[in-house]
Structures are given as C-alpha cells and as structure tokens.
C-alpha cells in the first residue's frame, strides 16, 4: 500500500480523528552502539572485553528484524575472568564503610540520570516495550532503587550488625526480564558489600550500558560485571567456587556446590474480580497487568459468576481500544516484543483453542494482539501451563472461598490483585492468597521499599525493602560456603533402603522406660514397618528402642501436619506464645529426666542441665517473638499503607542435627511454631530419646498434628521428606551428602531448603542457635498493598 507512506492531511484527519505516529528519536541509542562499532562484548572490571574466537549473535530490531549490532557469546573462560574481577573487587568493596558505598551508589544514580534518554531509547529499541513504560516507570525506579539502597548501605553498620556480605553474587537474567529486574537484585547486593557478575541473555545491550556507566565512575570498576551468553552458561557461573549465591534445572545442577540459591521464576500474575468490584476500574487493572508492557508474563483472571457477562462485555470493549505498535511510539499501550514472545503466545492461543477454549482477540496491533482466553476446561493442559504474555485466561468462581481454592491451586505464586469494594472480603482474599504480593484494587504497583518475591514455584528470593538485603548477607562468622559436592552421590539410591535391625541385647540402666512410637497426629503410634531400631548410650549399652519410621509414616505425619495448619494459622500470636510458654514450663518440670537422658549420652550433668535450661529459654524467647511479626510500610506516591506480613510456610519438615540433641530440636521447633508453621521433625539420630520425652508433654499441651516426630533411618526419612511434593519447606542438618541430596531432590516443587552442608552449628550461641536467621527462614514475607481514597 503506497498510500501508507503518504501522510494524511490535516483536512482528512479532521474527519477521521485518528491517532498518528509519535516517534521518539533513537539516534542516541544508535550513536552509542556506534561507539562499540556495533559490536558488543562483555563489560568486565571497568573495561570492554572482546575476546577473539567467540560466536556472536545479532541484536535485532524486533519490528523490522534489522540488525542493530552483534553481541559476543561468552565462554567458560570469560565467565571465569568476570568472577575473578568481581572477587578481587570484593576485597576492597566489602571492606569499605557503608557511607562510602552509599556515596558510590548515589553517584551511579546521578550517572543514570545524566544518560536517561540513552537508557530508555536503547531499552525500548531493543526490547520493543512501549517507551512510556521504560521512560516513566523503569528508569526512574532504577534511580530510586540506587537511592534507597544507598541509604541502606549508610545505615548498614548499625541496622545490620551481626551480618556480613556473602561475597560474589552470580545473577542469571532470564530473557523475559528487563534491566530493571537486574537493578532490583544488584542494588541490595552492592549496598551490603557484595560484588556481582550478571549473565545476561544474548543481545541485551541495556545491562551492558549500565555496567559501562557504573564502570565509568572510576573508583570500583569490578563491582558490576556483565557478560552476555546463552543460558547454558548459567551453571558454569553458578558453580564457580567463588560465587556464593545464585532456577529447577539449576537447583539440580547446583546441589552440593555450596552456592546459596535465590529463585525468581515465573512472571504470570493473577487477578481476582469479585461482584463487589468497581468493574470498570478492575478492567483497567487487567490492562495494567497484561497489556501495558509493565509485566513480562500473562494473567490468570478469576471473575465472580454474577458479574461474568458484564465484565466480559466491558473487557472486550476496552480491548478494542488498545493500541499496539512500535515500542518507540509515544502513544501505544503495547510495543512489539521479539519473535520468540510472539511464537510463545501464538502457540498458547492455538493450543487453548484446540482444547476447547474461546479465544478473543481485538485491538490494533501489527504484532500479536491482546488475547483473551475463556471457557478453558479446567483439566486441559493449557489451564495448568503458565500463561504467556500477552494472554489473559479468564475463568469464573462462585464464592470467595472457591476463588481462594482455585487461585491457590496452581503451582505459581508471584503476585495477585483483588478487586472488591468490600473491605472485609478484600482482606480475607488478600490474606488467603498464597502469593508474594497482593494489591487490593490495583495491579502492578512497585516501590523500592516494598519487598517483592514469590512463593511455591515462583521462587523464594526477595528483592526490595529490608527482606531484599538479607538475600545477600549471612550471619557474621559463618564460614564461606565451600563446595561439598560429591561426584559419588547416587541420587537414585540415597536413603532408599533401610538396613534391618535385630534385637541388640538387654536394656539396662536405671532410667524409666523410654517413650516408644512415632509421635503423629498428637499420639504415639506404632510404625508402619512394625520394626524398631536400638539406640545405644555413650557406653555402647542399649538405651532403648525407637520406632523405625518409613515412607508411609512420613505420609501420615505430613497429612496430620496439614490438617493442623488451618487451626494453628488461625491462632493469634498471643495464643501461640501462650502454648510455647506452657511447653517451656513442662520442660522445666521434666528437667531432671531430660538431663539424665542427655547424661547417658555422654554429657556432663552440668552441661546437660545447661542444655535443658537453654531449651526452655528458646521456647520462651520464640513465644515472645511470635507477637512481633510484620509491620506497616509507608510508601511515597501511594496514599494508604502497605502491610508487610510474615506468613507461615505451611508444613515444614525439619531434620535435626546430631549435636545438641535437645536444644537444636527445641530451637528449630520453637522458631517454626512461633511463625505459625506445623512441623514434621526427624530428631537426632544418635540421641532421639530426649525429643520423644518432649513429645509426651506436647501430646498433652499442643493441638494434635501440630508437631509430628518421626524417628528412624535419617537418610531414608530425609529422602521421603525431600521428595514429598506437599512439604512446603525443608531444613536439613546432617551430613554433606544428605545436604546435597536435599538440594537436588527438592527441585521437584522448588520448596525452599536450608541445609547445613555437613557443618555443625553452635546451637548454644545467640547468632546461630536463636538468631535472626531462624526467624527469617521460618516464615515468608507477603506485601499487601492497600491504596485508600474515596
């Protein structure tokens, strides 16, 4: 059509009143690419790194397919060089006072401000996202992130005393995520004194530009290093011995390598629209969530049946007015992302249709139109799969309870919004949704001060706010994470079989008969295998028999724990504290019995008494802390509060260490219960009897199923727990091999794990035994946004 090149006259537009092009010049982005001769390498240690003999990939304009530049693909040596640079820089950077790091971060914020046009045109040009979103959203937020974390660095010595930076952080950026996602993670890492190596997907120049801006500040060139390369390099980066922290495949590869793993996976979001909603505003919320280039993923939409027709009518009407086009156009809602995103969306829409869904597409987009899928049969594969951008999958619900059941019935849990003008209903849904972020009557709001993260398969890492800082810190004095990887560990057979046990001689000694059985559902039960294992005392004499638990017992214990969840979560913190204190009192009464049990395992009576006393103190301390959970954040630009909630993980499995058989058991138990979890515990293998003694009190004091204790072969029980999909988190304190297995096996549901890598902890010391780390691990954060106004 030749006519398209000819611009219509004002006279014609006067009749049609159509929108015209509003192109934003991207000359400066091209000029910057020219400075690199249209050939981008990696940015390492403050310099461009362009090694010879590497493959390169073209970086294309997503609309025209025209090649803008070529990008080198890194190889393992390049990764090593970047990690080396970051390691060297870490020595200096982590030793600086917080105030100096704050200064440096502020200088970087200024630097971004000076080159913001370059940044936003380059990002929009390459990613194809609407320039408005990059210019008005991402770039200012990147600056705010630096400013916020500068303040955090400044107050670090005071606020984060007792914690130290982890070291070199490896960050693997998925192709879906923009440079802003990188900023969310590198800012806290740099602020607390870590240095970073970022592996960006091929052909993403914006992170390289940012690294260059940071490098040109001069002083600390190696703190931010960016290399571009295929995702297959991820494990290479992550398993480098100097990298201290780092998705499912990655978790498997990394098992035992000693790196801490922070996952942020899916980008799918959820929107619950109730009959009490302002439907027109909720429709705008859907646009914000799916069709405004703000989010990287698709949207699952739950609509209450009574407003289904009305919502669909308004939504389809609204979709017809959406404008798509070139990202660099100032008047489009949706830009044009690359062919990969289009193919994904096309494939999903096609599959959904073939599985019986209605697919509605509207709006004017030369690329891939906004897409609304409805009537998808719940059991169809598409209903289970992650929804890609820019697709919205709508389904209906009848009651708020049903909405919660549907919403929580997916493995994803990143973010959700609830639309209801009834405060009670909105809060009920907001608290009940198992996601990291909930917005009430809004969608996609972000702020540097509000922690953002996910639960379930959306990953367990946090960024933003104070929670984000802890991702890059560890308690001072913790040994650096060394690899404990063993090539010889056979994942298929670890803990598979239980060695059989035979009668082991006469039971001798003055102590009363040991409690016997598995403590499940509030009472002692016989093990499914109907066999027992002997427990020897320090003299080698038989102390008693404990039940030999197996897979069926674990299943039963997890079921019992699940049944107790709702009751325990529903308890007020005060009630939880009361129960923990009551347990402490019971423990005191049992002191002499417990001490003598410990003594038989070779402890001095004096030390045994100390251990019992410390244990009661732990119960009281966690009881007291149960009452101080979460807080309210005040966020600039938002009228209204953001609640930072600390929510229980659910059913928490704990494999207790052999050291400090009573204290470790009680500390872990108390922290878990105080945060509202129910637990399945495997006590110390060598000395499980004190834990069973405590069970006798718990049988009388605690609700049934809240605490379940299974004795038996630790490797076998660990295997059962790690492979159980309905255990929400697993803490393992045992052998290095066990740790490695737990990390490998838990990839099944991506449950958060905490393993000791075979290193014993000093449970009697504040920092390790009772410290903040336990509290951090025992609950997950949720941010609940409550905008206000009438």
């Amino acid at each position: 059509m030749a006519a398209t090149h000819e611009r219509p006259s004002a006279r014609e537009i006067f009749i049609t009143l159509e929108y015209g092009p509003v192109p934003e010049s991207h000359a400066c982005a091209l000029a910057w690419l020219d400075t690199q001769d249209r050939h981008l390498g990696h940015y390492v240690n403050g310099k461009w790194l362009k090694p010879e003999h590497r493959n390169s990939v073209p970086c294309q304009d997503p609309i025209t397919g025209e090649s803008l530049a070529t990008c080198l693909q890194a190889q393992a040596e390049d990764v090593a060089a970047a990690v080396e640079a970051a390691g060297t820089a870490f020595e200096n950077w982590s030793g600086l006072p917080g105030a100096s790091r704050a200064q440096h971060l502020l200088r970087l914020a200024k630097m971004i401000q000076k080159h913001q046009r370059l940044l936003w045109t380059l990002e929009s040009l390459v990613s194809g996202r609407a320039i408005r979103e990059v210019r008005d959203g991402d770039v200012p937020l990147a600056q705010q992130l630096l400013q916020y974390h500068a303040v955090q660095a400044y107050t670090q010595e005071e606020e984060l005393a007792g914690w130290e930076p982890m070291g070199v952080i490896g960050l693997i950026l998925s192709p879906m995520f923009s440079f802003l996602e990188m900023m969310w993670r590198i800012c806290p890492a740099l602020a607390v004194g870590c240095t970073v190596v970022v592996l960006v997907p091929p052909a993403s120049p914006t992170p390289l530009l940012l690294a260059q801006l940071a490098g040109e500040l001069g002083s600390f060139p190696g703190i931010l290093n960016v290399i571009s390369g295929p995702a297959s390099l991820g494990p290479v980066l992550a398993s480098h011995p100097r990298v201290q922290k780092e998705g499912r495949a990655l978790r498997r590869t990394l098992a035992g390598k000693g790196a801490e793993l922070g996952l942020a996976l899916g980008a799918e979001s959820l929107l619950v629209l109730t009959e009490a909603a302002d439907v027109d505003s909720a429709v705008e919320g859907i646009v914000d969530a799916a069709w405004s280039d703000r989010s990287a993923g698709g949207l699952r939409l739950l609509i209450q049946e009574s407003v289904w027709d009305e919502t669909m009518r308004r939504l389809q009407e609204r979709m017809a007015r959406l404008r798509g086009g070139r990202g660099l156009d100032g008047a489009v809602d949706m830009g044009t992302r690359g062919a990969a995103a289009r193919d994904l969306a096309q494939h999903y829409a096609h599959e959904a249709r073939s599985q019986g869904a209605q697919v509605f597409q509207a709006g004017d987009s030369p690329f891939f139109p906004p897409t609304l899928v409805s009537d998808l049969p719940p059991a169809s594969p598409c209903a289970q799969a992650e929804v890609p951008w820019p697709v919205v999958v709508a389904s209906s619900f009848r009651t708020a309870k049903e909405a919660l059941a549907i919403a929580n019935g997916t493995p994803r849990g990143a973010s959700a919004s609830v639309w209801s003008e009834r405060l009670g209903q909105a809060l009920e849904l907001g608290y009940g949704l198992q996601v990291g972020t909930v917005w009430i009557n809004a969608h996609g709001l972000r702020n540097t001060e509000v922690p953002t993260g996910g639960c379930k398969e959306s990953g367990s890492s946090w960024h933003g706010g104070a929670d984000g800082l802890y991702e890059y810190l560890r308690p001072s004095g913790t040994p650096a994470r060394l690899s404990y990887f063993s090539e010889n560990l056979n994942y298929d057979t670890f803990g598979l079989a239980v060695p059989s046990t035979l009668p082991a001689g006469p039971e001798i000694g003055p102590s009363p008969a040991t409690p016997y059985g598995l403590f499940i559902g509030g009472r002692f039960q016989a093990p499914g295998a109907r066999s027992s294992r002997p427990i020897k005392d320090s003299q080698g004499n038989l102390h008693g028999y404990v039940a030999e638990g197996g897979a069926k017992d674990i299943r039963g214990a997890v079921e019992a724990a699940h049944q107790a969840v709702s009751g325990w979560v529903g308890q007020s913190p005060g009630a939880r504290a009361t129960l923990l204190w009551a347990l402490a009192t019971a423990l005191e009464r049992r002191e002499s019995a417990l001490a003598s049990r410990l003594e038989r395992h070779g402890m001095e009576l004096k030390d045994a008494k100390v251990e019992v006393e410390l244990s009661t103190r732990q119960l009281r301390a966690w009881g007291a802390r149960a009452q101080a959970q979460g807080h309210v954040l005040q966020v600039a630009e938002l009228k209204g509060p953001v609640l930072r909630l600390r929510e229980p993980l659910g059913v928490l499995a704990v494999v207790c260490p052999d050291e400090w058989p009573l204290l470790a058991f009680v500390s872990l138990l108390a922290a878990a219960l105080a945060h509202g979890n129910t637990v399945v515990m495997v006590p110390s293998g060598a000395c499980p009897i004190p834990a069973l003694e405590v069970c006798q009190d718990m049988a009388a004091l605690l609700p049934a199923g809240l605490v379940n204790v299974v004795t038996g072969d630790r490797d076998h029980l660990t295997r059962c727990l790690a492979l159980h999909q309905d255990v929400q988190a697993l803490w393992y304190f045992g052998s290095a091999q066990g740790s490695q297995f737990v990390e490998w096996a838990s990839a099944g549901n991506l449950k958060p794990v905490w393993v000791n890598r075979g290193c014993p902890r000093a449970w009697d010391q504040e920092a390790k035994g009772a410290g903040a780390e336990l509290g951090l691990r025992a609950a997950r954060t949720k941010a609940l946004w409550l905008p206000m106004g009438d």
Partner: protein
C-alpha cells in the same frame, strides 16, 4: 442534532450498588494523559476539531453588549483565515459549537449572532447559577425566560444539597421539571462535581441527571474551587456509557472550568475517544466550556503553520 434523550422512569437499582474506586480512577486518569498524544498534522487537525467543540463562554459580572458582541464574532471566526487557508480548512465554515452567557445577556448574544448571519446556538446558564441556592420557582422561571429570549441550550445547575443528603428522587423530580421548562431547548445539567464529596456521588448524580432527561451532563460551573478534572470525567463518561448500554440513548458530555491550554484540550479529546469512542466526538455529544482556551489553540495553530511562536499582537483578541 441527534435524537434527544427522553430520559427514563427513575430506577434506583441503577445506582444503588455502584461503588467507584477513587485511587484506581486516579491512576487511570494519569495514564490516559501519558499514553495518548498527537503530533504534527494530527495535532493541528485535533486542535481544529477541538475548536468546534468549544462553548465559548463569558460569565463575568462586567459583561456588556459590546463584550458579548466581540465574543460572538470570535465564535464565528475562531481561527485566523490565513492560518486555515494554509491548512486547507478555510472552506469548512469552522466555528465554535456555541456561545454561553448569563441569562440577562442572551438577548445581546442572539442579536449579535443574527447580525453576523450565523446560526451558532446560544447557551444560557440558569437555575441560580452557580450555587443553585434559590427557590425552585425562580429557578424554573429563569429557564423559561432564557428560552423566551432565544437561548436554545440551557446549562442548569443541580441542587447539591439533594445529592449530599441522598435525596435522589427529589433530584430526579427537579431535573425533570427543568427539562419540561426547557421545552425544545437542550438541557445541559451541571453536576458541580467539586462539591459532591465523592466519585461515587458523581456517578449517581450523573445517572439521575440522565434518567431525568438531560441532553448533556457537565462537570462544573467553573466557579467551584475544583472544576473539570480527569478522574471526575472518567466517572461521568463511564456513567454515560452505562446509560447508553441500558437505554440506547446517547447523552453528551461537557467538561468546563479550568481548561485553558491547547494541550489540555487534546487530552480531553483522547479521553472521550478512549472511554466512549469516536461516535461521541461530535459537537452534538461533546462540548468544552472555556473562555481562554481558544486563543491558546490559535497560537498553537499559528506555530504549526509558520514554525514560529506568535507574539501577543499577532492574533486577534476575543
């Protein structure tokens, strides 16, 4: 003119369940301005279109027949002839949509327009403008007198007391009577949204005014402390769409008060285009109440045509 809104029986179920979420509407209002803009030829064409939506208004204590005459002349020749020529728009008979004056000046306006041989309608404010705090009897009489003097559009103000105390039936009855008093003249109902207290009230008042047979609903008098704002407009436009979906009647929308810059007027056009669609972008269904807006539009057109910014004396005063 399109078919007039005959109104409907009062149905309170249309407003009883409505809850407007103010923070969400505020966000939408910000977005519309950030996400839509027009440049170059499009901007010039949109600005000229905006001219045809203007109710060129003077509501001052010191209005006299000479100032009214000047206003009417400007309404007929809103943009300098040579500028229109270079845009090839000189033969379109471009005028503003109406002139809007106080009831006592209606005669002056009708006479002035007649003298210049044009058919631009004269709108009169009425019913105790701007506060509406006079007796119903005098308010109704005011309408009748303005219509007698030749006003073909009447901008009435509603009784805010009735909204704030939730007397929706009484409000419906009053506007019904206004409508009757107007006869053939079009009824534009000013909601004075700055004084209604909440966006939910704005929606409800809009719906009542439309059920009672208003041809237009209008944001404000220009005399309140808060006048035409985007959030309020969004709520009113959504009410208009809901009313259209329920009854098939198209009711017009008129923002007024505080709209001074050409850029603002473009945002108002895209707001209507986005929320209601192109069908509403006609003088029959969309007006902008303004006095100084026109001269800013003319300056922008001048700049578009000549590439220079106009001096004060380059353009005729209104």
């Amino acid at each position: 003119m399109s078919a007039r809104n005959r109104g409907t029986e009062l149905d309170l179920s249309w407003i009883s369940k409505i809850q407007v979420n103010q923070p969400a509407v505020l966000r939408r209002a910000e977005q519309i301005q950030a996400r839509r803009t027009v440049k170059k030829e499009w901007q010039a064409a949109w600005l000229l279109k905006a001219v045809t939506f203007i109710d060129l208004t003077t509501l001052s204590g010191d209005d006299t027949s000479s100032s009214i005459q000047r206003l009417c002349y400007k309404a007929k020749y809103p943009i300098r002839e040579d500028l229109l020529k270079s845009l090839n728009m000189h033969d379109k008979g471009l005028t503003t949509a109406a002139v809007c004056v106080y009831p006592a000046r209606v005669c002056d306006a009708v006479k002035a327009l007649k003298a210049s041989g044009c058919t631009i309608p004269v709108a009169s404010v009425a019913t105790g403008f701007p506060s509406g705090q006079t007796h119903l009897k005098t308010r109704l009489e005011e309408i009748r007198l303005a219509v007698e003097d030749g006003a073909t559009e009447i901008d009435v103000v509603i009784n805010r007391t009735l909204v704030l105390t939730g007397q929706w039936e009484a409000l419906y009855d009053e506007i019904r009577q206004f409508r009757k008093a107007c006869g053939e003249a079009h009824l534009k109902t000013i909601l004075a949204t700055g004084e209604l207290g909440s966006l939910t009230n704005v929606y409800k008042a809009s719906m009542i005014a439309m059920m009672a047979g208003s041809d237009f609903i209008k944001t404000s008098t220009g005399k309140e402390t808060v006048n035409a704002t985007f959030p309020v407009a969004i709520v009113m436009l959504r009410a208009i769409r809901d009313f259209f979906w329920k009854t098939g009647n198209k009711v017009g929308f008129k923002p007024a008060g505080g709209i001074r810059s050409a850029k603002d007027s473009l945002a108002w056009l895209s707001l209507v285009k986005e929320e209601l669609g192109d069908e509403w972008l006609t003088p029959e269904l969309f007006r902008i109440g303004a006095s100084t807006l026109l001269s800013d539009i003319e300056r922008q057109i001048y700049h578009h045509v000549t590439g220079r910014y106009a001096a004060y004396h380059d353009l005729p005063m209104s």
